[in-house]
């Protein structure tokens, strides 16, 4: 059981947890939280691979993680803004009730 695989397993677990949250919760905000968790799990993977990868000096994985953190911040801002405006229009954030886009 090499340390890298430990990190990868933890990341996988966190990812699965986030996915479960995103799939099972009703509240849109909590779905967003789950998605954030998934993103972070991915970041953990990136950094772990960078750390144990063949060429850490290249900084590739680290950079990727840093950028994805920045992008995730933007994503959170927009997502929550959307949730708020949805709430303003529909008076709810319950995803089971929000199905206007029905085909």
């Amino acid at each position: 059981m090499s340390p890298l695989s430990c990190y990868l397993l933890v990341a996988a677990l966190v990812f699965a947890i986030g996915l479960a949250g995103a799939l099972t919760r009703r509240n849109a905000i909590l779905v967003l939280i789950g998605i954030e968790l998934m993103l972070n799990a991915a970041n953990l993977n990136l950094i772990a691979f960078w750390r144990y990868g063949p060429n850490p000096a290249a900084l590739t994985g680290l950079m990727f993680a840093v950028f994805s953190i920045a992008v995730a911040a933007a994503e959170a801002a927009v997502g929550l803004g959307l949730v708020i405006s949805i709430y303003r229009h529909l008076r709810t954030t319950d995803l089971d009730e929000i199905s206007r886009m029905k085909g």
């Binding site: 995103a22 995803l95 089971d96 085909g103």
Partner: protein, 690 residues
């Protein structure tokens, strides 16, 4: 004249040559700007048009002086500025412009006359509500023509050529609310198109043969010995060399534009346009374009001249020209519309130019072109002034005695008329026509053209006299009363009148300045020539001709004033001939019964095919399918429908099932996504395992 041999080629482009493109560009830009103006901005539009043309004139003069200085200092200028426009594969299409005596002279003439005409039309069109549009077209027209003049590449020339065609269409149909104007515009456009098709064929062939469309390119151009010899060597159909055939094709285009015999029909109808337009088309720009084209490609036309004779191409040119000259002159005799008379005279004069080109070389034809440009512009603007003065009346029989009403117009018009009919010594027309006749006289292959041209000259003098005496002599037969035109219209007349006289000086046999300038050898003054016998003979002959024409005309029409409804003198004399001439020798009708009728017949055939044959087939098919459909319906009702309805229900429920997937629930989508990820990952790992 031996093509380019007379020239010490000098292709190092000087500054003015580099800037030559500005001359057409300025009016075109002005046109573009004017097009953007609003209707009320009349002053600005006029200023722009005049200013741009004045600028072009300035540049043209600079260019001319450059050429002139080069000539006087002994070496002859032919400067080209070429550039590659397109490149496909190994072959390139080059464009460029050339500055040599020919183009220089044309530039000055076109810009000058054009400028005068534009100034004139500010007065003539003053009351038209589409003032700005008119000036936009006018500038564009001038620009296009200048482009034709400077072009050093057959392709560039063709572009501007087509532009000229387009603008002529726009201008002739300027009063498109008049159906006749619209029709005339269409006619002009289509007729010239016929010629242009051949022209284009010639261009393509030339390119295929020589690989270049440049005229002069320091030895590599298509008008230069190397290419020409190649063309001569290349055989074409029925024993003609490629050079000849290409020359003829190009001539067809020229004939279209300059209204030569088979294609002249559009020119008289073009009178439907505003008079300044007629002046511009007939004097300076459009019709001149054809003649200029022939002059431009002259080396090609006369390539491989047999000893002491002329080439096939030039022979054709000559005969067509001469025929046109007489033909049009005949028709002109029997016209009543003041502008139509002038139109037909233009056609005939163009015939002269062509004949001159064919027989006497560039110099002769071009000289007549220049002089004619001036006095024909003069005549047209005079006619315009008359029409303006008598309240848009165009029938000469409804005029008369105007010499008192509008003296200035009368004076200038008389000068123009005398110049046109070639009154001896003082008028430029005399010398230019004289040159042509001289060339025709010692044409070796046949005397025919000479006699034709002489006859045409007589007729010219005759119908001009008729017209003038109808318009200016006798007593006033119109209604209302005539008034002199404003100064803005008469001033250009005066200027043109001056040139109509003065231009003769540079073309006398004694001092053939123009010829030597064009052909590029020093001009010598030798009054001795006046003494030489054959010159004197010719002089006397043409004088005689003119006097006969004038006298006959005066005899029949002078100062007597028949009432409009009264029949014409000639009509009384020889009714059938008169009728024929009156109806323009039935050319239009001829076309009507031949080409147009053919097309009509063909259309009917096609129509019949459509109705009967194809229609029948279609009907048959329809019937068959109808039967099939009946059978099918039976079949359906009995067997299919049951099953089909079932299937529909199935599909419907299936759709409902699918629709449930599209539930609008984000989580559902997310779930599907995750499932897909799982499946893909499994596939990936499975496939990648050893």
């Amino acid at each position: 004249m031996q093509g380019t041999n007379g020239f010490a080629l000098q292709t190092a482009a000087s500054g003015i040559t580099q800037l030559l493109w500005l001359i057409p560009a300025i009016p075109m830009v002005a046109a573009g700007v004017i097009a953007l103006l609003k209707q009320p901005a009349r002053k600005l539009a006029a200023t722009l048009a005049i200013g741009s043309l004045a600028l072009s004139l300035l540049l043209a003069l600079v260019a001319f002086s450059h050429v002139l200085s080069g000539w006087t200092s002994g070496h002859n200028v032919r400067e080209t500025a070429n550039f590659t426009w397109l490149q496909f594969g190994t072959s390139t299409v080059d464009l460029g412009w050339v500055l040599d005596p020919l183009s220089a002279v044309m530039l000055v003439m076109v810009t000058f006359v054009g400028l005068l005409i534009v100034i004139y039309s500010t007065g003539y069109m003053a009351h038209d509500e589409n003032f700005t549009r008119f000036f936009c077209f006018l500038s564009l027209f001038a620009g296009a023509m200048l482009g034709v003049v400077i072009a050093n590449s057959l392709l560039l020339l063709f572009m501007c050529w087509e532009l000229v065609g387009l603008t002529s269409y726009l201008l002739i149909g300027f009063w498109y609310q008049k159906p006749s104007a619209a029709a005339a515009a269409k006619k002009a456009f289509l007729t010239t198109r016929v010629g242009d098709i051949f022209f284009l064929l010639g261009i393509v062939w030339l390119f295929a043969q020589t690989g270049t469309l440049l005229f002069y390119n320091s030895g590599a151009g298509s008008m230069e010995p190397a290419a020409l010899n190649g063309l001569l060597a290349a055989p074409a159909a029925l024993g003609l060399s490629a050079a000849t055939v290409i020359g003829l094709l190009i001539f067809a285009g020229a004939a279209g534009k300059s209204g030569q015999l088979p294609l002249h029909v559009w020119l008289p109808d073009a009178m439907e346009g505003p008079t300044p337009v007629s002046a511009l088309i007939h004097a300076a720009t459009m019709v001149a374009a054809g003649v200029y084209l022939i002059a431009r490609v002259y080396p090609l036309m006369q390539a491989g001249t047999p000893a002491g004779g002329i080439t096939t191409a030039l022979t054709v040119v000559t005969w067509v020209g001469a025929a046109t000259a007489v033909f049009a002159a005949l028709i002109a005799v029997a016209q009543d519309d003041i502008k139509r008379i002038l139109a037909y005279s233009t056609v005939s004069q163009l015939g002269y130019m062509m004949a001159g080109l064919g027989l006497g070389g560039v110099a002769v034809g071009m000289f007549h072109l220049i002089t004619h440009a001036f006095f024909k512009a003069l005549l047209f603007m005079g006619a315009g002034s008359v029409i303006h003065g008598v309240h848009e009346e165009q029938d000469v029989r409804k005029m008369g005695g105007l010499r008192k009403a509008m003296p200035l117009t009368f004076a200038t018009y008389a000068i123009g008329m005398l110049a046109l009919s070639g009154f001896p010594i003082v008028f430029s027309g005399f010398w230019s026509k004289d040159g042509i006749l001289a060339a025709a006289k010692d044409a070796h292959f046949s005397r025919g053209p000479f006699y034709l041209l002489v006859f045409g000259a007589v007729l010219t003098a005759f119908y001009m006299t008729r017209q003038v005496s109808y318009v200016f002599f006798g007593k006033w037969r119109g209604h209302g009363h005539a008034h002199e035109s404003p100064a803005v219209m008469t001033a250009p007349l005066a200027i043109l009148a001056f040139f109509a006289i003065a231009l003769g000086v540079i073309g006398t046999p004694a001092w053939p300045w123009f010829r030597s300038f064009l052909e590029g050898h020093a001009a010598a003054i030798e009054f001795g020539k006046f003494g030489e016998s054959e010159f004197l003979v010719l002089l006397l002959t043409s004088t005689l001709i003119v006097l006969v024409g004038l006298g006959f005309g005066w005899l029949l029409y002078g100062s007597k004033s028949p009432a409009p409804e009264e029949r014409d003198v000639l009509e009384k004399a020889v009714p059938p001939v008169w009728a024929a001439l009156r109806n323009r020798l039935y050319v239009d009708e001829f076309y009507g019964v031949t080409f147009i009728a053919f097309y009509k017949w063909w259309a009917e055939v096609a129509d019949w095919l459509d109705r009967r044959v194809w229609g029948g087939i279609v009907a048959l098919v329809i019937w068959v399918f109808g039967r099939l459909a009946h059978f099918d319906r039976f079949f359906d009702n009995e067997w299919v429908n049951g099953g089909f309805d079932k299937g529909c229900e199935e599909l419907y429920s299936g759709g409902g099932l699918l629709a449930r997937v599209q539930s609008g629930r984000t989580q559902t989508y997310l779930r599907l996504l995750a499932v897909a990820v799982v499946v893909l990952a499994v596939i990936l790992i499975w496939s990648s395992r050893p």
